[in-house]
């Protein structure tokens, strides 16, 4: 996906083409994300898409015009923007929901899983650039970082506090229903 986006940027294509490629990609992405919460395997691959295709050669583009490291920076911003736009609950964390590599990330996942909502997750440990991009995006220094309905909600302390106060239930209530609809359609 990173390649598609960055290629589109390099070529200066219209937004519409980016949007359509994004739409085409989003369904499998959701299914991959669902794997996390249902505990199926293959998690590293889902994230691997992001890192391994970033600078891969594009057969349609002359060598001179292929994405450079500069354009891949832009694509990371796009990826974050797209993640939080298309997925109601996104967590950038250390490790994966099934195998968190930090107590705070584990806690945040555990809290979110109480609500039966689809959780989209990316491991920021596997990609330093993604980590830096997310930090800059939210102006937040630590991980995990949780985005709900396109908005930065906070880290594990805030998620836990919202959970305890019942605010999270309010915020996630309609997502749980929507998630079921998406899953069945």
């Amino acid at each position: 996906m990173a390649r598609l986006v960055s290629t589109a940027l390099v070529r200066g294509l219209m937004r519409s083409s980016r949007a359509s490629s994004a739409a085409a990609m989003s369904r499998p992405a959701i299914q991959k994300f669902m794997n996390y919460s249902s505990g199926l395997g293959g998690a590293p691959n889902a994230n691997g898409d992001l890192t391994t295709t970033r600078v891969a050669a594009d057969p349609d583009t002359h060598q001179d015009f292929q994405p450079t490291s500069k354009s891949s920076e832009m694509s990371f911003d796009d990826i974050v923007a797209q993640d939080i736009k298309e997925h109601p609950v996104v967590i950038y964390m250390k490790g994966y929901p099934d195998a968190p590599r930090c107590g705070f990330s584990a806690l945040a996942v555990k809290v979110l899983q109480q609500y039966g909502v689809p959780i989209s997750a990316r491991d920021i440990l596997s990609d330093l650039k993604l980590k830096e991009t997310v930090k800059a995006y939210s102006h937040w220094p630590t991980f995990p970082q949780i985005f709900i309905k396109g908005e930065f909600v906070g880290g594990s302390d805030i998620i836990l506090s919202m959970h305890q106060k019942g605010e999270l239930k309010e915020l996630l209530g309609d997502i749980a229903q929507k998630g079921e609809q998406n899953g069945s359609s």
Binding site: F104, W140, P141, T142, G154, D157, I158, S161, M162
Partner: protein, 93 residues
């Protein structure tokens, strides 16, 4: 090495002039992990996210050397009042 508990306290005190501040070193001594409780008037009218941001901003110069900060409480004096006084360990009249 790194950031001491005193550094963290000083940074938060100068930024938020808290009426109550507890910084706990949870790293086991290396100074890389802290738990923080703050009560400050400056939190008045701010959402939790904004309050945490204020603490983060205060600690920004130190964050590179701190591995983990957990903000356990970020309350206004009014919010801190109804709870059983958290500063109960202070021998007060």
């Amino acid at each position: 090495m790194g950031v001491t508990k005193e550094d963290v306290e000083a940074a938060i005190t100068s930024a938020l002039s808290p009426s109550h501040l507890v910084v706990t070193d949870t790293s086991g001594g290396c100074g890389a992990s802290y738990e923080i409780e703050v009560v400050s008037e400056k939190f008045e009218g701010k959402r939790l996210l904004e309050r945490h941001r204020m603490v983060n901003t205060a600690l920004a110069p130190h964050m590179a050397e701190i591995h983990a900060v957990s903000i356990k409480k970020a309350l206004t004096p009014a919010q801190a009042q109804p709870e059983p006084e958290p500063a109960a360990d202070k021998p007060q009249a």
